[in-house]
């Protein structure tokens, strides 16, 4: 089966050890996590994980089912790039002298839509958001012209284009389900 990059989005309880519960499911199948980003969601007490990994559809489906099955996981699903709006952020530190020596910093800034976050006697910190190839493109171009002193890229964050179901609606459904579960067999 064809391998491609999948993005898994997970909503979970904010418990200790959740990341371990998720990552061991990747470990078991020998899957590498490409990027990972975790943060509180809009709803209190619920955390959101965005994970990307290279694999095939057959495997990703099983992995997501096994993640979803964990008691502390509220909801998880996967998407391909076409189904998502997604973004990464990258920071680049270069020496101020190198930056000033650039023939056309304006052109570079316009081309990559760069923001300058900090400028001191020693160094300049640039910020670029975009897809992987865009943040990488800037890194490659800078590297040709100078030494990039530090470079850091975040994990991906993503929003699905199609799903209209909101987390709060999902939770409401769970409340309904819960009443049934408690009554099961009684």
């Amino acid at each position: 089966m064809e391998k491609k990059l999948y993005t898994i989005i997970i909503f979970s309880e904010n418990h200790v050890g959740l990341l371990n519960q998720i990552s061991i499911i990747f470990t078991r199948r020998g899957l590498n996590i490409e990027t990972l980003s975790v943060s509180p969601s809009a709803l209190e007490g619920i955390h959101k994980f965005t994970i990307t990994t290279y694999t095939d559809e057959n495997t990703i489906e099983k992995v997501v089912k096994q993640i979803d099955k964990r008691v502390d996981i509220i909801k998880s699903f996967y998407n391909t790039d076409e189904e998502l709006v997604y973004q990464e952020i990258a920071l680049y530190k270069i020496s101020t002298d190198d930056f000033i020596a650039l023939e056309s910093s304006e052109e570079l800034i316009r081309k990559y839509n760069i923001r300058i976050l900090e400028m001191t006697k020693n160094c300049v910190v640039l910020e670029k958001t975009g897809h992987y190839n865009e943040t990488q493109g800037l890194f490659d171009e800078l590297s040709q012209k100078m030494k990039v002193l530090q470079f850091i890229r975040s994990g991906r964050i993503a929003i699905t284009k199609s799903k209209i179901e909101r987390l709060s609606d999902i939770l409401e459904k769970y409340e309904e389900r819960w009443k049934k579960t408690v009554n099961h067999g009684e």
Binding site: G17, K65, V71, Y174
Partner: protein, 566 residues
């Protein structure tokens, strides 16, 4: 009204009582002493069994759960006590067995410092539990216990760990009976989808050659009656996985036996002849399917299971019904036509005869002097009027007892299927006997596996557990020897065993015992064993070079079956 405050260890006792716990298996130690101290005041509430090893604690709890249907409860100490439970926890996870393992833990304040007997049990057990939780404060105890029992026993059951920090055992708090609070996103009983039921009912109605595979899910959902009604109405032959055995009585007209590596020839062959294969509460494990690339390719495959992550995991299915087996079977039975498949069912006979002639006859009525495992198993099964609970260890003894024991009641086999844990049998038998004291419990073990838990003879002595132990002694790690004989040029590396005098050991524990070396001693010895309700060890010297047949070698097409003549 303010409740009286009590120590965390007492809150645990109250919470366990509230869950209806009657039996606790355990082993004490430093970081769990407060709990055992509280237990001292609750001796009238709980039947407490001191085992001889924490692994045995977990297997006893599994045996209790599997035989009785109630969750097994374990209490052990931290560190080595906790790590000794890992095998049993993994076993319970693989075999969907409800179990609550409560372990001591160092004080919460010292966690992370390599405190004495501190071990990250939650981290270790996350991959092999349904839920693993650390109780760090007395106020969390009631919540954690309620949630643990709910998770362990609902949906697809499994093990839960509660790692109980010592400070929380000693802190004072008031106990308030808890109703389990919502576990968001945990959907143990998915809603039945009528469209799925209709689709499967249509497939069944159209099928000329249907075959049902019965797994433990049917037993776990108490759907045995519903299964028989369903099978009768559509006239479908059915066979069981190892853990699904006893869901149908052995003599049920449509029961076609046991599937998988050492299963019966007919249902294995028919798997690749049927036009519709319906798995119910089973997981198409590799020991059942053999090579998945050649498995039931001609058939439409239907999977009925409560766990969505099982559907499509090993085998691509054409249709599914997600749900509890009982609910699904009731709904399906309403929608299927009464049918008659007698021609298809009769076509199993040729394979049944083939197996009888090539395998069963030689096992049950051997022409050689040496005793076979099969004849011993069948004699014991007959002598207990097919009414006993079979507990097995792992190896040839397990496969031969699964093949030749017979069942009239459900929940009559307790065996380690998914993990194949040697040493499981003896402690599991102790648990089964305690869980269902009015039934005869027969444990068949090999010389290897018996010695992995032989210390539990001490538990049997101390707690007076009337289990009937049949040691099938071939002086070999027989199942490994079998693979060496068949696939490794008879190079018997690490499989011959020099064994102790097992009878002398039983006598040292004051357990009645006999040894049988000849066929004509067997009946009387079995009668002697079953003449009262006390523990008994029957050592049977069986053939050393016996082989379990039929056999589909691992990874082969399920119909590539070896029999003695090949």
């Amino acid at each position: 009204m303010a409740e009286k405050k009590m120590k965390g260890s007492y809150i645990l006792m109250e919470a366990l009582k509230q869950e209806g716990v009657d039996t606790i298996f355990g082993y004490p130690g430093g970081n769990i002493i407060p709990v055992f101290d509280a237990l001292y005041d609750y001796q009238d509430d709980f039947n407490y069994i001191l085992m001889r090893h924490e692994q045995a604690v977990t297997h006893a709890a599994e045996g209790y759960a599997r035989a009785s249907g109630k969750p097994g409860v374990c209490i052990v100490t931290s560190g080595p006590g906790a790590t000794n439970t890992i095998t049993g926890i993994g076993d319970a996870m693989m075999d969907s067995t409800p179990m609550i393992v409560i372990t001591g833990q160092a004080n919460a304040a010292s966690l992370g410092t390599d405190a004495f007997q501190e071990i990250d049990l939650v981290g270790i057990t996350q991959p092999i539990t349904k839920w693993s939780y650390q109780i760090r404060r007395a106020e969390d105890i009631a919540y954690a216990v309620a949630r643990a029992f709910h998770i362990a026993t609902t949906g697809r059951p499994g093990p839960v760990v509660l790692d109980f920090a010592k400070n929380a055992q000693n802190e004072l708090f008031e106990f308030q009976p808890q109703k389990i609070s919502i576990a968001r996103g945990y959907i143990p009983y998915p809603d039945l989808n009528e469209k799925q039921v209709d689709e499967v009912a249509n497939l069944i109605n159209e099928s000329k050659k249907p075959l049902v595979l019965v797994g433990q899910g049917v037993i776990l959902s108490n759907a045995e009656k519903e299964l028989l009604t369903f099978l009768e109405k559509a006239d479908i032959p059915a066979a069981s996985t190892l853990l699904g055995l006893s869901a149908m009585p052995s003599d049920f007209r449509l029961n076609k036996g046991f599937i998988g590596m050492h299963g019966n020839i007919a249902p294995n062959k028919k798997t690749n002849e049927c036009d519709l294969l319906i798995g119910i509460g089973m997981r198409f494990a590799d020991r059942v399917t053999g090579n998945v690339k050649t498995y039931a390719k001609q058939a439409k495959i239907v999977h009925i299971d409560i766990d969505i992550s099982e559907i499509g995991k090993n085998i691509k299915t054409d249709a599914k019904i997600l749900g509890d087996a009982k609910e699904v079977l009731i709904a399906l039975t309403k929608k299927i036509k009464e049918n008659n498949h007698s021609e298809w069912i009769d076509s199993f006979k040729a394979f049944e005869e083939e197996e009888y002639n090539k395998v069963i006859k030689k096992s049950l009525y051997p022409s050689v002097d040496a005793l076979t495992m099969g004849e011993v198993v069948r004699k014991v099964s007959d002598a207990t009027h097919k009414d006993a609970i079979l507990v097995t260890d792992v190896g040839q003894n397990q496969m031969e007892s699964a093949r030749y024991f017979q069942y009239t009641k459900s929940r009559s086999i307790v065996t380690s299927g998914g993990l194949g844990t040697m040493g499981f049998g003896l402690p599991a038998a102790i648990g089964a006997k305690i869980g269902v004291p009015n039934r005869t419990v027969c444990i068949f073990a090999g010389d290897g596996g018996f010695q992995m838990s032989i210390q539990e003879l001490g538990t049997i002595m101390q707690s007076n557990i009337g289990v009937k132990m049949i040691l099938l002694n071939n002086n070999y790690l027989g199942m490994v020897r079998q693979w060496q004989e068949l696939f490794y040029q008879k190079r018997y590396s690490s499989t011959p065993m020099i064994n102790p005098d097992f009878n002398a050991i039983a006598s040292a524990y004051k357990i009645a015992n006999r040894k049988v070396t000849k066929r004509d001693e067997l009946d009387e010895a079995i009668n002697d064993m079953l003449s009262n309700d006390e523990a008994f060890l029957l050592v049977v010297e069986v053939e050393e070079n016996g082989l379990v047949y039929p056999m589909t070698p691992a990874g082969e097409t399920i119909t590539n079956i070896l029999t003695p003549e090949d």
